[in-house]
Symmetry: C2
Subunit: 211 residues, 2 copies
């Protein structure tokens, strides 16, 4: 029972933060939408800020898990590994589309919590991307690139359809909440890896080189 | 004198919207920072919403101008033209980095004004990108691609460093406000066009084909 009401509070909060903004949402609004007593919210999250922190933590713990799962396949080659990492993140963001949108928007603001998130989760993320890119450049799978600018592009591609769902849906008529989107977009990112990062060698050679 | 105070009001508003948020900023705050009387703000912009609308209009008129300038070079080939369009936008966004950041963030919210902007400026933008991409696919400069997904990637790359300045500066140590950034990033986008869109032909052949 308690577990359900915790989840219901989170869902209600994410919905309201996305539609009315964090500042425009009161604890009372959240309680009403989640159909719980406001005291429940205090019990689980203390206050609205506690809820916000929980949103960040839940999102980034899951996000980093997905990256790490992909990263653990580095021994099979950098192209393969990067494809796994990006595919996992795209699927994760599709499955948590409301939370993702809210968090990505919050991350564009200069606040204390954003600084903390960056110095923990984003630094770990950068470490993994850097390792994969460096390994690929060393073993000849990838062309020489600026690591920073490659991560910059990667991050831009990963967030675009989730942060700008309105634009993507209404101007481009691409629907990120549809089930096929994760596959389609992962395929686009896969082409990006091939076109931007990879050297011209046929892929079976690459695998041989990493063995 | 009047013109200066109008510009001062805009500058103050953009700064405060970026740091305190639109809702967290009062007309009185703006007047104080711009060192003008609050009545001046009413005179030029009616109210805070008028100021917000003006921010959108100023930004997107300039943005579209830059795209159009680039678009007018389509006769010289699609790769050349797209490079001009992207280079112009990057330079424009660098020159108006505070306004760009604010507008890009506002565009992620689902509001009446955002819908209006999308149905005018973004539809025009999509039209131009579509024309350039189609022309390139027809004359053999570009490989066959989904127009929508290509625009999706393009837009993601164009906004990333300006929307996520905090992340880009503090995690990647890339400084979008430095003067060399516009050139460096335009060069990255140029590589993106080559790696993702272009067919393998040497570029002198491409130019011959379009003549």
């Amino acid at each position: 029972m308690r577990k359900n009401s915790k989840a219901a509070i989170m869902d209600a909060a994410i919905y309201l933060f996305n539609t009315k903004g964090f500042k425009g949402t009161s604890v009372r609004d959240i309680a009403a939408r989640a159909n719980v007593n406001a005291a429940n919210i205090s019990y689980y999250f203390q206050n609205k800020n506690g809820l916000l922190e929980n949103c960040f933590t839940v999102f980034f713990e899951g996000y980093l898990d997905e990256l790490e799962k992909g990263f653990s396949s580095l021994e099979y080659g950098s192209e393969y590994c990067l494809n796994q990492m990006l595919g996992n993140v795209v699927r994760y963001q599709c499955e948590n589309i409301q939370l993702t949108r809210f968090i990505l928007r919050e991350m564009t603001i200069d606040s204390q919590i954003v600084r903390e998130i960056m110095s923990t989760y984003h630094v770990k993320e950068r470490y993994m991307f850097k390792k994969v890119l460096e390994a690929g450049m060393e073993n000849g799978e990838f062309k020489k690139h600026s690591i920073q600018y490659t991560i910059l592009q990667l991050k831009g591609l990963l967030q675009m359809p989730f942060l700008n769902t309105q634009y993507v849906t209404e101007v481009l008529h691409v629907l990120p909440h549809e089930t096929y989107f994760a596959d389609k977009y992962s395929h686009e990112l896969s082409n990006w890896i091939k076109g931007i990062l990879c050297t011209e060698q046929p892929s079976h050679r690459k695998i041989l080189m990493t063995i």
